[in-house]
């Protein structure tokens, strides 16, 4: 199982507390994790990546194992520790000011 930590607003939207776990078949990548996440929690569709282009929303970042993976290719394998469930995949709302 892949562990995913969502930002507070998306946890509220998905009606979950703490981290969520999703099952991914095959290579564990950003895309496969997000596909599994949206399949389980359809209300998250469009909030992390664009509905049509599937690109990461500008103020959403991805982290794992202490590294910023936001600019990795969507089909690049995630760290082994994430694939094994030892470390979570973090979806983070960027610190981007606002009001």
């Amino acid at each position: 199982m892949i562990r995913v930590i969502l930002p507070q607003h998306l946890r509220t939207l998905a009606r979950v507390e703490g981290e969520v776990q999703v099952e991914v078949e095959g290579v564990v990548t950003q895309r496969s994790v997000l596909d599994a996440l949206e399949a389980r929690y359809p209300m998250l569709c469009g909030t992390i990546r664009d509905h049509v282009t599937q690109k990461r929303r500008p103020f959403v970042r991805f982290f794992a194992c202490g590294e910023d993976l936001s600019h990795e290719l969507p089909d690049s394998p995630l760290p082994v520790a994430v694939a094994r469930g030892a470390e979570p995949f973090l979806v983070v709302g960027a610190i981007a000011g606002g009001s």
């Binding site: 209300m43 569709c45 929303r57």
Partner: protein, 392 residues
């Protein structure tokens, strides 16, 4: 005894204010969707317990929420948690995709940008939700970048009425300072095919065939800030209002100027009259007196607050031109709030109630058509929209 439910959208959540017909004692519910920008919350005239809300965020984009119990509980239509992984997600209630198909859409992909160049249409958010007068599952959505969408399945899926964006003048539309939003949708009770909309800064438009074809209705508008002040499009309409029983009469608060049309928008004439300033955002019509209208004059487009620090609603009982200041219960010194375009509403009780919200977080009510005002709440986040439902 009748009651009222006021639906307030703010920069940091939605609030629901309820009272009996006296409108003196209020219960406050919220914040709903705390921390999110709630551009608009509106109830269905066909089923008052069916509410729709536009929830947006610079981080996570657009969400549409729906309630079937008057706002006690909410859901994202089609976005329910799946019982097991592997099911294909529905999750399209926030999917607003411009129609560019050759069959129903238009291959129009650009509008005018601030620098005069052409710019692609990019969905940003839903500014306004207008539920059908007859079907709780049908709703129109006005969005930025300007377009109108419709759902017929309770907001589970949305389709663009692409005839508006593609009717021909689209490449001349350009964003106002607040973006290029479609913010006003008026449905005509006597003619299901007729819809009026308004866009900043393109102008007003009308369809007579339920959204298939549209035409600009801006003749008579004058905007000195654009190259051709009498242009067919390019006018910064801030809001429009009409009385449900007056088929062809429209009122408009333009960037500057308060305007009136008596022929369904075919022509407009100014009715600013003795207003101290005719800049502003809101305009609304008394529920029982079609010639009684309300505006909140704002000092100017560079100073978005009331004149002289006095918050005054102006009322005309003559359909414009002759205006009186309504001040009882409103702050008359040191007040520098704004009242945004969707932040005024009227109820339909015998003594018509008028409501408006401010960027300072106050929501005011007048239970007697504007003669006397009182704050319902004083310290909400900045108010983006106010709607009211009159309940049996």
């Amino acid at each position: 005894m009748s009651s009222v439910r006021v639906l307030v959208g703010t920069r940091k959540g939605a609030f629901i204010l309820t009272s009996d017909g006296k409108r003196e004692q209020w219960d406050i519910s919220g914040p709903h969707f705390a921390g999110w920008e709630m551009y608009h919350v509106k109830g269905s005239p066909a089923d008052p317990n069916r509410l729709y809300a536009s929830q947006t965020s610079g981080w996570f984009g657009q969400i549409i929420q729906r309630s079937s119990d008057g706002g006690k509980t909410w859901e994202t239509p089609g976005g329910e948690k799946m019982p097991s992984p592997g099911s294909m997600p529905a999750g399209a209630s926030n999917k607003f995709v411009y129609d560019t198909t050759p069959e129903t859409g238009k291959p129009l992909t650009t509008h005018q940008w601030y620098d005069g160049t052409q710019h692609p249409w990019e969905f940003k958010r839903v500014w306004h939700l207008e539920p059908s007068l007859t079907d709780p599952d049908t709703v129109y959505a006005g969005v930025e970048d300007a377009a109108i969408f419709r759902t017929t399945d309770g907001a589970t899926t949305w389709q663009e009425l692409a005839g508006l964006r593609g009717h021909g003048t689209g490449p001349k539309w350009q964003p106002g300072a607040g973006g290029m939003g479609l913010h006003t949708i008026l449905l005509e009770p006597s003619d299901p095919g007729r819809i009026y909309i308004a866009i900043s800064a393109a102008g007003a438009f009308r369809t007579d065939d339920a959204g298939k074809t549209w035409k600009p209705i801006n003749r008579g508008l004058k905007s000195s800030y654009i190259p051709d002040p009498n242009a067919e499009v390019g006018h910064c309409v801030h809001h429009m209002a009409k009385h449900p029983a007056r088929t062809n009469v429209l009122f408009m608060q333009k960037h500057w100027d308060v305007m009136r049309s008596d022929d369904a928008g075919e022509s407009w004439h100014e009715v600013s009259g003795n207003l101290p300033t005719d800049f502003g955002f809101v305009i609304d019509v008394h529920a029982h007196e079609p010639e009684t209208i309300y505006v909140v004059p704002i000092k100017s487009d560079s100073e978005h607050f009331p004149l002289e620090g006095k918050l005054r609603v102006y009322r005309s009982r003559t359909g414009g031109n002759e205006w009186e200041a309504l001040t009882k219960g409103l702050p008359q010194r040191d007040c520098y709030v704004n009242v945004l375009r969707d932040a005024m509403a009227v109820d339909t009780l015998d003594s018509c109630g008028v409501y408006f919200g401010t960027t300072g977080g106050q929501v005011y009510v007048s239970p007697d058509a504007g003669d006397n005002w009182a704050p319902i709440v004083r310290d909400l986040p900045a108010v983006l929209s106010v709607e009211v439902q009159t309940l049996p």
